[in-house]
């Protein structure tokens, strides 16, 4: 059972305090979007073996959403950060490349 640190309230807690909410950093497409764009937005989710970005909610806690950079194979957590951002911040990217040399944002394995 994972432990995560909520960047909103600072608590490090076990998984049962949290709720996983799917892939992070999706771009919303609404009216006017092409079929392809909309399909991609709704259904074409990344499913990497390795580094992944997810949304989590501290639902049995402060109630806030945040993002987690996590490894789907080793379950290592590279870091958690604010949900109010369009891309992972540099500090998170650095933490990942320190452990996974050669990894680059948006290049899913």
């Amino acid at each position: 059972m994972l432990i995560l640190t909520c960047p909103c309230c600072g608590v490090t807690a076990e998984e049962t305090e949290f709720h996983q909410g799917g892939e992070a950093h999706l771009t919303r497409h609404g009216p006017g979007a092409s079929e392809e764009e909309f399909h991609t937005y709704l259904f074409a989710k990344e499913n990497p073996k390795g580094v992944h970005f997810e949304r989590w909610r501290h639902n049995n806690g402060c109630g806030k959403w945040f993002h987690a950079a996590r490894d789907t194979v080793t379950l290592e957590v590279y870091g958690t950060y604010s949900a109010q951002t369009l891309e992972p911040p540099q500090v998170i990217r650095d933490a990942i490349t320190a452990k996974r040399p050669g990894w680059r944002w948006r290049e899913f394995a």
Binding site: I3, E14, P31, F38, N59, K64, E76, K99
Partner: protein, 1002 residues
């Protein structure tokens, strides 16, 4: 026969006796006994029957690895099957029964299976019961079910209490032998917060039995001193009777504490499951001795050499007057020496090694014990107990050189580190050629949240040998664990005595050339009756993967999970496949280490605490007035309020009729209520709902629909605008939390720059629906405020004082009558309800339940989320275009509703359905169409979404989704019923009652 020795037994309190029964026979033991040692002390060697062949079996081991001595413990509601006698502490009044036999342990009909053993090889069931196919269901399966199952399930009701405990520490040390003690001490002295758990009731493990010295003192004294030291340290928690059951991700571990198994009936919880989060985990879990595979190695009296020694030293029990020791290593000599010194006979030590043993062998020889190097056992003589052994050359095929009479055989095939906890979360193993065992690979530990290794093996669990080696290894592990958690290790390991041993020699089959007949009697897995011959057969039949061979033969699949059998089994498999053991590998180690009670996993979640039951402020009234409840999410809502002998149906009809005729009240407190406030609240509401909500005027209400991004309906409800900045959203009962979460998700992850705050105030208010022609009158009796049609029009709300309580009154209607919803602080909900019941008595006020509510809304043609919708329905399917704003550029679900499949004119649409014979359609029934589909099923053209008997109309009414439904008014559809009949129903308008809304507008 086994017996109690006149002296000895370091764990016993010989001054006191404890009474217990086994299969109804009264027996005596002492405090400190396990059930196994007490049974042996009473001469009870035979303790059970094996699973497949019902072979007579006695105890083999002295600890958690025991495969044979499984018993049913306790009586009545406290009965529990499959308990290991070796880990059951004796207490006064203990009741045990043996299992898997009929009619008795001594005389068992099922034992006839053993004579057919050669016809029941591995895979027998798979091969035998596949043809002819129909036989499986009617002949084979009932027969197998009859004979399957080990032990009996207990009868209902567990009178005991169980609990969880969340605990956090820097270093968790599993295992309270010398290694665990030293690791804990090293970590604690470094300043780490340490928890040390031990599965038995005793500290020190088997070191006191094996002897040796630490820093010049007997090891037993060192154990006592170390425990005393640890007990005095404020940063150390010690727990006996607490097994490390499993190791999981990110330093999570489960400890299974048997708090009160040995004191049944005490007020303590029986088991406590420790949910431990540790920075580092040290597995000082020791090692388990392996049996040797020779013919007859399962006959009662054949035991692990270490167990024979344990029973003698710890419990003062002798297995027999004459014990033959058979071994491939030096350690078993300790058993011979111990027994000899106790005055028992060792007719021979059979050492499979041609070159024999080292210093211990010398010591044994000096005691006058006969030692035969290069020899082994050809077969054991005896049935229900050992009478002798035939000895042979290990290098040969089993020709008997000599027969030796004896009552016991102490065997040792070497030691396997207990690597279970290391392996649970991904720790890898390496094969140690010299010791012929798997041990933890230090390069590949389980990894935690930061990618760090978080498990460290210590002592013999890490393959360490003598006391000196164990203490050094454990000290290093304890210090390393502490250091990894930020503590500062100091100090040196104590000096344990060294006892160099001659190299062991792997012996996987005895003798190495044993023929088929011998292999057929050489057991690997005692509990599941898997023999050397079975594993060899599996290999011949192509089961090359150890995981496949395991499942084909059932090797290691019994309740002991192969603690004794796995290494021997995979060695046999490797040999049969002609490959080295590491290439075969092990099967997967999964938690728990030994079985733990289901109740401990449930913890507090039983009986009243099984799950949260949410209650409204009026629940007490409902309970006192005979409500028939139904679950709605975690709420229990009154389905109806039957009176006297009334059934559900009559009660519902009465409630509806009285509401429509006069006055009904509904506890609507469970409806979700969410405040949405801020300068951007209107804009946000327009995104959430398909309707235009931003134009709603303060003081007014609007019914709205909510869709997800897929376009599908997810919730509905009435929105009230409280003021320019503030909306109050009502959601469905089940939707309150999820819709609040949905709102926060969009605000926090997409529109975080919008100035909107939400708050879930669902439980702040008790809400009562007051419906019927007399609803205004009854409220007017309780308020001085003006709620006339002019002051409070349909779909308006206002603040009033009712029965002295500040309230919001919403003029909305789900029943289709003149109706109001009153909302008051929950702490006054019951007072409001009581006031309404009293004031309404002159109108014959009647509480109504959810079913009456459903029927009345269906009579009005109102949809219900979860009935008309199922996660695949869009508002357009329900002809609710009127609720979808065309002016808005965007709302959640808008783009999805433009997708081709959503805009397809052939999507089924909502209509009313009226049966021709007046009956009610079955719920969920399908309307058939011409022809069949590709699967040969009838084509369908619609389905029922809601169906009820309407007491108002005196007939069945329904709604359904039908192909081109709204264009087919008057057409008759056919709905097949489960019993083969057909009900015909006409497509009609979905509003059955008061089509013009005159009543609700009144």
């Amino acid at each position: 026969m086994s017996t109690r020795l006149a002296t000895g037994g370091r764990r016993l309190d010989r001054g006191r006796a404890q009474e217990f029964t086994f299969n109804g026979k009264r027996m005596q033991g002492h405090p400190g006994d396990t059930l196994a040692s007490a049974l042996l002390a009473n001469g009870q060697m035979l303790m059970g029957r094996s699973f497949k062949y019902h072979r007579p079996r006695g105890v083999v081991a002295s600890g958690a690895e025991e495969p044979n001595a499984l018993v049913g413990l306790g009586e009545g509601t406290r009965f529990e099957p499959n308990q290991r006698a070796t880990t059951t502490e004796l207490f006064d009044g203990l009741v045990a029964v043996s299992q898997n036999h009929w009619p008795s342990l001594e005389t068992d009909i099922g034992a006839v299976n053993t004579h057919f053993a050669r016809f029941l090889p591995a895979g027998f069931y798979y091969k035998m019961f596949i043809h002819p196919r129909p036989f499986w269901k009617h002949v084979y399966e009932p027969f197998i079910r009859q004979s399957a199952g080990l032990g009996k399930a207990p009868n209902p009701g567990d009178p005991d209490r169980y609990e969880h405990f969340y605990y956090f520490c820097d270093v968790l040390v599993v295992g309270g032998g010398v290694a665990g003690l030293q690791s804990a001490l090293a970590a604690a002295e470094a300043g780490a917060k340490v928890m040390l758990i031990e599965q038995t009731a005793h500290w020190g493990g088997r070191a006191p039995v094996d002897g040796g010295e630490v820093d010049g003192h007997p090891v037993e004294d060192w154990i006592d001193a170390t425990i005393a030291k640890l007990q005095d340290m404020p940063n150390v928690t010690l727990r006996t009777r607490c097994m490390g059951a499993g190791v999981y991700d990110h330093g999570y571990a489960l400890g299974y504490e048997r708090v009160a198994d040995h004191t049944p009936g005490s007020d303590a919880p029986r088991h406590r499951l420790w949910r431990i989060r540790a920075g580092q985990i040290v597995t000082a879990t020791g090692a388990i001795e392996r049996p040797l595979s020779f013919a007859g190695n399962d006959i009662p009296g054949v035991m692990l050499a270490s167990a024979v020694r344990d029973y003698a030293v710890d419990y003062g029990v002798s297995i027999g007057d004459r014990t033959v020791v058979v071994t491939n290593n030096d350690d078993a000599y300790r058993t011979a020496i111990t027994l000899k010194k106790l005055g028992l006979e060792i007719p021979a030590i059979l050492d499979a090694r041609q070159q024999g043993g080292g210093a211990l062998a010398e010591e044994a020889r000096a005691l006058g014990i006969r030692i035969e190097n290069g020899k082994g056992i050809a077969k054991v003589k005896g049935g229900k107990h050992v009478t002798g052994v035939a000895i042979c050359a290990q290098a040969g095929e089993g020709a008997a050189l000599e027969e030796i009479a004896c009552e016991a055989v102490a065997m040792s095939g070497g030691w396997s580190p207990v690597v279970h906890l290391w392996s649970h979360c991904g720790g890898k193993l390496i094969w140690d050629e010299a010791q012929a065992h798997f041990r933890p690979d230090p390069e590949n530990p389980p990894r935690g949240a930061q990618g760090e290794g978080f498990v460290l093996p210590a002592g013999s669990a890490n393959g360490a040998g003598d006391l000196a080696g164990v203490l050094n290894d454990a000290h290093a592990a304890g210090q390393a664990a502490a250091k990894a958690t930020g503590a500062k290790p100091k100090g040196k390991a104590p000096q344990g005595s060294a006892s160099p041993e001659a190299p062991m020699q792997p012996v996987w089959l005895m003798p190495q050339g044993a023929g088929y007949k011998l292999r057929l009697k050489a057991w690997l897995d005692y509990q599941n009756d898997v023999k050397v011959s079975d594993v060899q057969l599996a290999a011949r039949e192509g089961y090359e993967s150890v995981e496949h061979a395991k499942r084909y033969t059932t090797l290691g699949m019994a309740t002991d999970q192969g603690k004794l059998s796995n290494i021997n089994g995979l060695a046999i498999l490797s040999d049969a496949l002609g490959q080295p053991i590491p290439q075969t590998g092990t099967t997967t180690f999964r938690p728990p280490y030994t079985p733990i009670s289901l109740s401990s996993i449930a913890g507090e979640a039983t009986k009243a605490n099984f799950q949260p039951i949410r209650k409204t402020p009026m629940q007490g009234w409902h309970e006192a007035n005979g409500a028939d409840f139904e679950p709605v999410g975690q709420w229990r809502r009154p389905y109806c309020f039957p009176k006297g002998e009334e059934g559900r149906h009559e009660a519902v009809n009465r409630e509806i009729t009285q509401t429509r005729d006069s006055l009904g009240v509904l506890d609507a407190s469970t409806l979700g209520k969410i405040i949405v406030k801020g300068p951007d609240a209107g804009r946000f509401m327009d995104m959430l709902y398909t309707n235009m909500m931003s134009t709603l005027k303060p003081g007014r209400c609007r019914y709205g629909l909510m869709c997800n991004e897929n376009g599908f309906l997810m919730d509905d409800g009435v929105v009230a605008r409280l003021d320019e900045d503030t909306f109050l959203c009502h959601t469905t009962t089940g939707g309150a939390e999820s819709i609040h979460g949905h709102m926060e998700e969009w605000l926090q992850t997409e529109w975080w720059d919008w100035k909107v705050y939400t708050a879930n105030v669902t439980e702040q208010y008790a809400q009562v629906g007051v419906a019927g022609p007399n609803s205004r009158k009854v409220i007017e009796k309780l308020t001085d405020d003006d709620i006339s049609a002019d002051a409070l029009a349909f779909m308006g709300w206002t603040g009033i004082t009712v029965a002295g309580i500040p309230a919001r009154v919403f003029r909305i209607s789900f029943a289709g009558e003149l109706s109001f919803e009153l909302s008051v602080p929950a702490s006054h909900g019951r007072a409001l309800w009581d006031a309404l019941m009293e004031a309404g008595s002159e109108y014959g006020v009647m509480p109504y339940g959810t079913e009456a509510m459903h029927v009345m809304r269906a009579e009005k043609g109102f949809i219900m989320i979860g009935d008309e919708t199922d996660g695949t329905v869009i508002p357009q399917d329900l002809n609710m275009q009127w609720a979808i704003s065309k002016k808005k550029e965007d709302y959640l679900g808008k783009r999805a509703q433009e997708r081709s499949h959503m805009a397809d004119p052939n999507r089924w649409k909502l209509v009313g359905l009226e049966t021709l014979d007046g009956s009610a359609l079955p719920d969920g029934a399908y309307a058939t169409a011409e022809g069949h589909n590709a699967n040969g099923q009838r084509n369908v053209q619609g389905r029922v979404t809601s169906t009820y008997h309407s007491p108002t109309l005196g007939r069945g009414i329904a709604m359904g989704l039908v192909l081109h439904g709204p264009n087919r008014m008057g057409e008759v559809l056919e709905f097949p019923t489960v019993d083969g009949g057909i009900i015909k129903a006409k497509i009609v308008d979905q509003v059955f009652y008061d089509k013009d809304g005159e009543k609700q507008n009144g």
